[in-house]
Symmetry: C2
Subunit: 140 residues, 2 copies
DNA sequence: TGTTAGTTAGCACGACTTGTTGATTAGCAG
DNA sequence: CTGCTAATCAACAAGTCGTGCTAACTAACA
């Protein structure tokens, strides 16, 4: 994702108004590695701006997603997570606590075999599931 | 997934009754590479057994899933898909028509880098997204 | 044959997300 | 500064996917 300042400029270019709500969300996403859901982002936002609506958070996230500034990650476990990291990267997910971390796989592009003649791969998503160090420690 | 005959035996062992509905679903899943949703499986089932309920299809799929006989695949695009192929395999998905095919990746286990000290990987899921040959042909 | 699990219809609910409406606020171009 | 208009908000509804529940009926299996 671009910096909050650059996003302000891009929003102005696109004819979108630069509201305090949008700017707050830009800042909350900047450098955010928590892979938050709309709901969790809303909760943090509401602390700094009581009265902001969940609807607006969803709306702004959709705009950023449409602009390619955030990625949305559906891990199949409840709500979609949003990711300001749009580098070519992948994720490890703890099945116990749900924490998501970025990982980088250098063997990509991967080679695969199967009955898929002529299939043009545009993107590859890898999710490693397991148990994080903290959860392993607690359960021991 | 085991054969329908073996599943009949396993269900009896577990104290589950072997109903015509369950047997029909066993047969519909046997060798099925379509990665159907509960809904699409229900539609096919209802042709052969009018009156079967969607509820029962969901129920039986849950039982098979709990037994490890089918895998459920959440591609983040609508309903969960069910897969009687429980081998270690991955998927290619056409973004246009939604078709899902099995693929096998032989570089697994994959090596990754990131801030994930002590994370124990239990499973790896890879999804290749792109455009299938048919869709490429149609759009050309 | 009897017990009991399974099935069904029907309705509701829950989670997540989007749509709508109508009133209010405020960004920003001129 | 002013005015146009987008944005926000509250409130409510709706849609999708999946599950829960009930009550009545059916049928598997001991
Ligand atoms: Mn990420
Ligand atoms: Mn498969
Ligand atoms: Zn954990
Ligand atoms: Zn296709």
């Amino acid at each position: 994702m671009k910096t909050p300042e650059e996003l302000v400029a891009r929003f102005r270019e696109q004819g979108y108004k630069v509201t305090p709500q949008r700017q707050l969300i830009f800042r909350l996403l900047d450098g955010n590695t928590a892979h938050p859901t709309a709901e969790t982002l809303y909760e943090v936002a509401a602390q700094q701006m009581p009265g902001i609506s969940l609807r607006t958070v969803y709306q702004t996230l959709s705009e950023l997603s449409a602009m390619g500034e955030v990625q949305h990650i559906d891990l199949g476990s409840g709500a979609v997570r949003f990711d300001p990291n749009v580098d070519d990267h992948h994720h490890v997910v703890c099945s116990t606590c749900g924490v998501v971390h970025d990982v980088y796989v250098n063997q990509t592009p991967l080679h695969f075999e199967g009955d898929v003649e002529g299939f043009a791969v545009h993107s590859t998503r890898i999710v490693f599931s397991g148990e994080c160090a903290q959860c392993a420690h607690l359960s021991a």
